[in-house]
Amino acid sequence: MKKLINAVDDVVREQLEGMASAHSDLLKVHFDPNYVYRADAPVAGKVAIISGGGSGHEPMHGGFVGMGMLHAACPGEVFTSPTPDQMYEAAKAVDSGAGVLFIVKNYTGDVLNFETAAELAFADGIRVQNILIDDDVAVKDSLYTAGRRGVGTTVLVEKIVGAAAEAGYSLDACADLCRRVNQYGRSMGMALTSCTVPAAGKPTFELGDAEMEIGIGIHGEPGQKRMPMSTADEIAEMMALEILDDPAYSRTVREWDNDAGSWVDKFLVDEPFQAGDQVIAFVNSMGGTPVSELYAIYRKLAQVCADKGVTIVRNLIGPYITSLEMQGCSITLLKADAEILKLWDAPVNTPGLRWGI
C-alpha cells in the first residue's frame, strides 16, 4: 500500500482537520463525535439538510457542506457508516427549529445508523425526515437483496434539496422533493481497478489487466459481473442502456412519521425513462480515472441519449462521489422538470460544488 497518509488510524481525523483549515469561511468541523457543519449554522427559519456515510467518497459528503447544499455531513471511518451519535449531535447543532432532513444512501449500515439517530433526534423534540437514496440499476431486484444502493443520484439530490431548503421549503416539502428526485434518478458504475482501504492495507478485490468489473457500488465491493476489458464507447453505451432501458422499479421503504412518532412503510415505484424526457447527466470518476476519460464517456453517452430521444439539459462531469483511488466511472441520469432545473441552477457555495455566486 502506497498512500499519502501518516498513520492508518488518523486518516479520517487528519483529513477533517485539513478541511476545516482549508475552508474555514464555509464550514467548521466538530470532533468526537465527528461532523462537518456550515459555519453559519443554524440558519434561521431554514430546514437543515444532513447527510453522511463512510469516508473515502470525497468530496461527498463533507465537501458539499455550505450555502445551498448540506448543513451538516457525518463522516464515518473509511467505507464504514457513521454512528448515530454523529447524526444526532449534528442535528442538534444545525436545527433552526424548522426540522432536519436526513439524506441516507441505501446501505444496510447507513440505514440502521441513521434510523437510530432519527429516533434519538425525535425523542429530543426535533422534527425529522429520513429519506433513502436508492438509484443503482446494477441491483435488479429489491425482494432478495437489501435493495438498490445509493450512488450518483445522491450528489444531485443534495444540490437540489439543499437549494430547496435555502429557498424556504418546509421540512415535508423538502422530504417530498428528495423522494421524487431520488425516484427520477438512475445510476450505473464500473471499475477498472480495485481500491485499498487504509486499515485493510491491500486491495479489496483483484482485477486482472484485461478485466473490468461492471455494476459496482462505491465501496470497492465486487459488482454485478466481471467482463473482458472493452472500449470507452462500448462501456458508455452498455451503461447508458442499462439506465435508459431500466424498467419500472418498485420497493418498500421505511420513513419516519413525525405525527405517529414511528416508522411507516411506503411502497414506491420509479417509472422508466421515456423519449422526450429532459435529464441532468452526471459522469463521475471513481477517483483514479482522469477527467479526460470522463469526457470520452460523456461523448458516447450524449449520442446514446440523443438516439433514445432523451435530451441532456445540464451536466456534471468530474470526481464527486469516489471510491478512494479506484479507476472507473459511473453515469447518472436524472429526469428534470422545471422546478428541479431551477433548484439545480440556484447558487451553491461549498468546497466541492460552487456556482452562481
Partner: protein
Amino acid sequence: MSVTRDQIVQWLENLAAVLSENKEYLTQLDSAIGDADHGINMTRGFNKVMEKLPGVADKDIGNILKTTGMTLISSVGGASGPLYGTFFMRSGMAVGAKETLNREDLYELLKAGVDGIVQRGRPVLADKTMYDAWAPALEALRSALDAGMETLPALSQAVAAAETGMKNTIPLQARKGRASYLGERSIGHQDPGATSSYLMLKSLLDTLQPA
C-alpha cells in the same frame, strides 16, 4: 448455578480478547462477501467497551450491558454497530437491576437482545445474517431449559446450535446487507455476522465453564 455480575464483566473482557484474536479472520470472511471491515469494526468497538467497563463494573448487570450497548452503537459503525448495540441495550433493559442471573434470567437476557436485533434489522431465517446463528441457539436453549437442564449444559446446547447455524450460512444466498448484492456469488461463504455472534455465545459459555 447462577451467573454473577463479575462473570458478566469477565464475559465482556473475554469477548473483547476473542474478537481481537479473530480480527483478521472476521475481516477476511467479510472481504469475500462484504466490505472487509467486520473484524476491524468489532475490535474497535470492544476496545472502547474495555475503556468504559472499569467505570461501571461495580454497577448492576443491566447497567453494564446498557453501557456496552451504547458504546458499541457509538463506535462500531456499519450494520453491526446498531445491531450488536441494540442487542446489549435490550438485554440490559431485560435484566435491569439484577446482580445475579438464574438460568431463566440468562435466557431472557439473550431473548431480549435477539428481539432487538430482529426489530432493528428485520431479518428472517436463512437471509444469511447473524440471526441464522441466534435463532437456533435461542430455540435450543429454550428446549434445554424446558427439559430441566442446568445452565451450563443448556448453554452448551445453544452454542452447538449457533455453530451449526453459522456453518449453515455457507450454502445460503444472502438476502440482507451488502452481501445480498453479490447474488449467487455470496453462496459458499460463511456469514461474518453469524460468525461473530457464535463467538459471542461461545465466549459466554467459556467464561461460565469452570476451567
